[in-house]
């Protein structure tokens, strides 16, 4: 990936801050240069620590970290965010739940998946991910009855879902 999106020193004005964030977005999503985008965002944070667009900057930083595979850092940032009442909050709850599950923080992961599922927000694909993730986390947390219930619900709602065969196998193994 090219890393050409560097930001020249500039006075810390609001319009400059907006321009820098715009560069970061283009670098991350249009040029697929996550490392370059992260550099730009770091510079933005140094120049505009109290920017009214700080929340947007955090979202972009997390996206860049995930694109770079720096999942522990991404999780640390997500842990510091309130995901309630954020746009596409259900999706972010699912992602954070998955990262927490990866870190074996089963109870925290369950809480995130609960949030994504309780209000039935997000698209069907994200709901499917949340239900499967919660089944996994519940099983790992030792709550086998709840995990089994999630797996049964999963198979009922997504009989041809991406985890259907594995869910069926786990249920059969649990019998």
């Amino acid at each position: 990936m090219a890393r050409s999106s560097r930001v020249a020193p500039a006075p810390a004005s609001a319009s400059n801050g907006q321009a820098i964030l715009g560069q970061a977005i283009n670098s991350l999503r249009n040029n697929h240069d996550a490392a370059g985008a992260l550099d730009i965002l770091t510079r933005h944070a140094a120049l505009f620590p109290h920017s009214p667009l700080a929340a947007e900057r955090s979202v972009l930083e997390i996206e860049a970290l995930l694109a770079l595979g720096r999942r522990d850092e991404a999780l640390a940032r997500l842990d510091g965010m309130s995901l309630d009442n954020t746009p596409r909050g259900a999706e972010r709850h699912v992602v954070r739940g998955e990262l927490r599950a990866r870190a074996q923080r089963w109870r925290d992961a369950i809480a995130d998946f609960d949030q994504a599922l309780t209000h039935a927000n997000g698209t069907k694909a994200w709901q499917e991910r949340a239900l499967w993730g919660r089944a996994v986390a519940r099983a790992r947390a030792g709550d086998e009855a709840a995990a089994r219930a999630d797996l049964q619900t999963y198979l009922r709602l997504y009989p041809k879902g991406r985890f259907a065969s594995e869910a069926a196998r786990l249920l059969a193994a649990a019998e």
Binding site: Q18, I62, T86, Q104, A164, A174
Partner: protein, 313 residues
């Protein structure tokens, strides 16, 4: 952020906002106008988002509120202090919309995967074990391949009558995606037929390779299988003036269905199979000074049986 109150309006316009495109932007002000925000958003929007989205801008005293609606979620508002000029307001609104509503197709926050297939058995594992690392989306996560060894007994039926078969098999489930691979060895009991003045004792052990595809999965599993077969026909004559023994290999094909139930690593199954031998095979009785006597061997066999398999891996 607070939940916005323009959900009803947004819902009415929802169908007008095409998925995968920049969101529909509306504004109750000329500073910024919807057109200005849309123009700036066009330079930021990647077009990679898989979800429909809409945005509405409200300007009040000292603050600008951007209401954001994404697919299947309630509207959420983002409030910023107002900038002095309309261009900055438009750019700020565009940044807010792009940051929250546009994202890579693999997920809103990047290439993160669903909690991957858990290497656990509900009934047996209590202690936490590492979950597999998130994998790139959208390709489905690799499910663990499962290796089984099995044995079964089958009855066969063909144009020459019936017979019994002992069958063994090795199978890798989900070897490539949902498709598995099976290798089977079938040993029929020898059979006998009259040929001219004597008798021929024949048997045809078969090794078959089959792609196995799950057709239904749940408590009961239905699989389909199809693949090539290699048979070794062994014939021994008796009661002739000169008795011969011969062996010849021939290619065929197998197709079948399996109804199975898995429990704790053991699978009990019932198979219905068919075997086809494209090349004709005959047993010949040569009589000096006369026309040879031919008896054709069956080219189509049906098999029905029961068996069980054990998971090894």
């Amino acid at each position: 952020m607070k939940s916005a109150s323009f959900v009803v309006v947004a819902s009415a316009l929802w169908l007008a906002a095409p998925a995968l495109a920049a969101p529909l932007v509306t504004s109750d002000s000329d500073c910024p106008s919807a057109a200005d925000v849309t123009t700036r958003l066009a330079g930021l929007w990647s077009g990679n988002s898989s979800a429909s989205a809409m945005a509405h801008i409200r300007v009040e005293v000292g603050q600008m509120t951007v209401d954001l609606v994404s697919e299947s979620e309630p509207a959420v508002s983002r409030t910023l202090p107002t900038e002095a000029d309309c261009e900055s307001r438009a750019q700020a609104a565009a940044l807010v919309i792009a940051a929250w509503l546009d994202s890579r197709p693999s997920g809103p926050l990047g290439e993160v995967e669903p909690a991957a297939a858990p290497p656990f058995e509900l009934a047996t594992v209590r202690a936490p074990t590492p979950i597999a690392s998130p994998l790139p989306s959208p390709p489905p996560p690799p499910l663990p391949s499962r290796f089984f060894l099995g044995v079964g007994g089958l009855a066969s039926l063909d144009s020459r009558g019936g017979g019994a078969i002992l069958s063994t098999e090795a199978a890798w489930l989900r070897l490539v995606g949902r498709v598995g691979l099976g290798v089977g060895l079938s040993f029929p009991l020898p059979r006998e037929m009259a040929v001219g003045q004597g008798k021929a004792r024949w048997w045809r052990p078969v090794v078959a390779l089959a792609l196995r595809i799950p057709l239904a999965e749940g408590t009961w599993i239905v699989e389909g299988g199809i693949g090539p077969a290699l048979g070794l026909l062994v014939v021994a004559g008796s009661g002739f003036s000169q008795n011969h023994t011969d062996a010849v290999a021939s290619w065929g094909a197998t197709v079948g269905f399996r109804l199975a139930r898995r429990s704790r690593g053991r699978t009990t199954w019932a198979d219905l199979r068919g075997l086809l031998w494209p090349a004709a095979q005959n047993i010949r009785n040569d009589v000096p000074g006369s026309v040879p006597h031919l008896e054709a061997l069956p080219r189509i066999e049906a098999q029905l049986g029961l068996g069980f398999s054990f998971a090894l891996l």
